[in-house]
Subunit: 403 residues, 2 copies
């Protein structure tokens, strides 16, 4: 079954049969209750319910026409996209990677024999796929990001890979300082770069083994994340604790541990400095980020300090880092708002022209982010993201509002 | 209208008319929809709904038979008790005292001309009232605490006061180290003591003026909280910031600011050390206390540091105190549980005999607190309160459970 994209609207899909060439109209409803349940092996009633509740949504922009899983439905992850090109392409949502608090015990329970340890980098999660006739980049939630889509193909030569493997999805992290979502400096990345951690199948989301993935990345000259090594299960925790300590001291985030065959879901483990960085960010905008966000990062610190069997001095250092990463940014923001400013963050991106920057802004607004284009000059746009709750609440308290 | 307490059960109240002496049965339902709405000036339908939802509950123990407001209903505060003795006594819930984050601005908005500044002490809130024929002590939620009831009359001679003023309620804080709710050391209190901050009317909950209150307390030789003084509005904030700083340095909690005539609701403001103490407590039992609990204490620190215009050094000290009050107790608890112990706190109380301690234990269980009597010896009972979520979750993570 094929679909003609030009004719697609929520109520009117034009299919033509790949065997006899006959065309036939089909409604979105029929797609949801007849076609997609077969492709995804999920109950048609559940999909219909999800559509009614808005957890499954019609999505259309200049790149694709699709159904977007805003929330997970049965075993189908949030962020899954069912794209209607000349045929149906399904890009599964990137699965949540669970976190170990106690590295040794969790690895012992979770893995078998060996683990591959890769670097976890601080950027934003991107899935890149060929949706005939274009190569498209999806953010975690399934939105097509115009900036990422353009940059991905500038940074990497993806056409050969997708020519040979149109049914695979490249999963990686967009990194660097000119990253309009998560700006973080890496010496080897600089302004903007991409690192690939998974190659997965369309429709099933099944990942290739580490070996197969790295073979393909090398063959097509695509940039992998750092693989620190393969460790036997007994030696891994000590190695990883040491590794994560070093990564932290170099301002880096942490690691992802993987079954070499990718039959077992990966786990992640992060450095104290990464927790502190995230707390700094969170307490810059204390009324916009959730209380669970603060709490979970603080809990990680407790378990890490315990597992690392820290000395009194090391603990004191950690406690101080924790306290400073909470207090300083908060006071900074209060001062800032007391000067009649707003709580905002300025994000930098490259853009060939003002229209491109504005298209990205539009994309942010679609995500529910309040942002304005602050300036555009010589191919660089500065976008100010505004944290409205923090601005409003702090202003209110400064004016004598009661807690 | 009078009520005969001996005959009271949820379905069967025996009243007798104060005029003619005639007795008449009345159901709880009729009380809720006919009598209480008149006394409290609240909609009968709302009360009935509250009773159906369990927000208004029948409450009976060896001291009283009552209706307890588990949650607020219209303008009637949670913790309000409608007690059926030989007549109806209404003890209003103690109103929540709101907090200033920015002292100067909030006071300017909130008060007029002058404020009385009293010490806010770290114990538990108690209302004491004469419910014919006994003097009874209520905790914040309206429960009659057998321990507090007994101790209140041991610590203070309340009979003369209540003989003269049966329609007033004494509101204060039970303090000291042998305090089975909130154990905190005060040099002038030692093991157990009581300090009175308000005298309020039954039924309306209206507080006496500061002057009238202190006159009565002096006359009946009852212990008031410290009154630091009366300050004019312009000078108050600077004085209070200084005062709270000193209080904190002496391990004390903070202040309550009051309109001398008590026509305006009071406000509270607390020291950094008090926030740290509460964080220590919270992070000893991180999975039992709410995330909002952590968050609000941390936010207080931010605004206080800002308003006190701290130097770099002072801020660093505060940040360190904050970080240590989070990390240290958490790691301590993880270590403790890793040794196969439970997350618990041992509370000490005086008790004339084992039965008394057990009655208190029973009272705690009624409040939903998991506790056991650890030992009883020479008039002192040690009660272990168990924090089950913290115990279970930390055990799970130590065993490799994923976050």
């Amino acid at each position: 079954m094929h679909i003609k994209r030009e004719n697609i609207s929520p109520d009117n899909f034009l299919f033509y049969c790949s065997k006899c060439g006959n065309s036939q109209k089909i409604s979105l409803k029929d797609l949801i209750i007849k076609e997609i349940p077969l492709l995804l092996d999920v109950d048609s009633h559940k999909l219909e319910q999800a559509y009614k509740k808005g957890n499954l949504k019609f999505y259309q922009n200049r790149f694709i026409t699709a159904l977007q899983f805003r929330k997970s439905v049965a075993k189908i992850e949030a962020g899954t996209m069912v794209c209607f090109s000349n045929e149906i392409h399904i890009i599964r949502g990137f699965p949540k990677i669970r976190r170990t608090l106690m590295l040794e015990k969790a690895m012992e329970l979770h893995f078998q024999r060996e683990v591959a340890v890769e670097e976890k980098m601080n950027g934003y999660n991107v899935r890149i796929a060929f949706i005939n006739p274009e190569i498209v980049a999806f953010t975690r939630g399934g939105y097509v990001c115009p900036y990422t889509t353009r940059k991905a193909s500038e940074i990497m030569d993806l056409s050969k890979f997708f020519y040979d493997y149109p049914d695979l999805v490249i999963c990686g992290e967009m990194l660097g300082t000119d990253n309009p979502y998560v700006s973080h400096y890496y010496p080897e990345i600089g302004k903007l770069g991409f690192r690939i951690f998974d190659i997965r199948e369309k429709v099933t989301g099944k990942p290739l083994s580490i070996k197969k993935k790295n073979y393909l990345l090398e063959k097509y000259n695509l940039p992998p994340v750092r693989l620190f090594g393969l460790y036997s299960l007994p030696e891994a925790p000590t190695k990883i604790l040491e590794l994560v300590k070093n990564l932290g001291e170099n301002g880096r985030e942490g690691v992802v541990m993987k079954d070499p065959l990718m039959k077992i879901p990966p786990l992640k483990y992060t450095s104290s400095q990464a927790h502190a960085d995230e707390l700094v960010y969170a307490f810059k905008f204390p009324f916009d980020l959730g209380k669970s966000f603060f709490f979970s990062r603080v809990v990680r610190e407790g378990f890490q300090s315990y597992e690392m069997q820290e000395s009194k001095d090391e603990m004191k250092k950690r406690a101080q880092r924790l306290g400073e990463s909470i207090l300083y940014p908060m006071v900074e923001t209060i001062k800032h708002i007391s000067a009649d400013e707003v709580a905002g963050e300025d994000l930098v991106m490259e853009a060939d022209n003002r229209e491109e920057a504005e298209e990205f802004l539009h994309h942010l607004q679609e995500l529910g982010v309040v942002a304005v284009l602050l300036k555009y000059e010589n191919g660089r746009a500065v976008i100010r993201r505004i944290h409205q709750s923090t601005t409003d609440k702090i202003k209110n308290f400064l004016n004598g509002g009661l807690y």
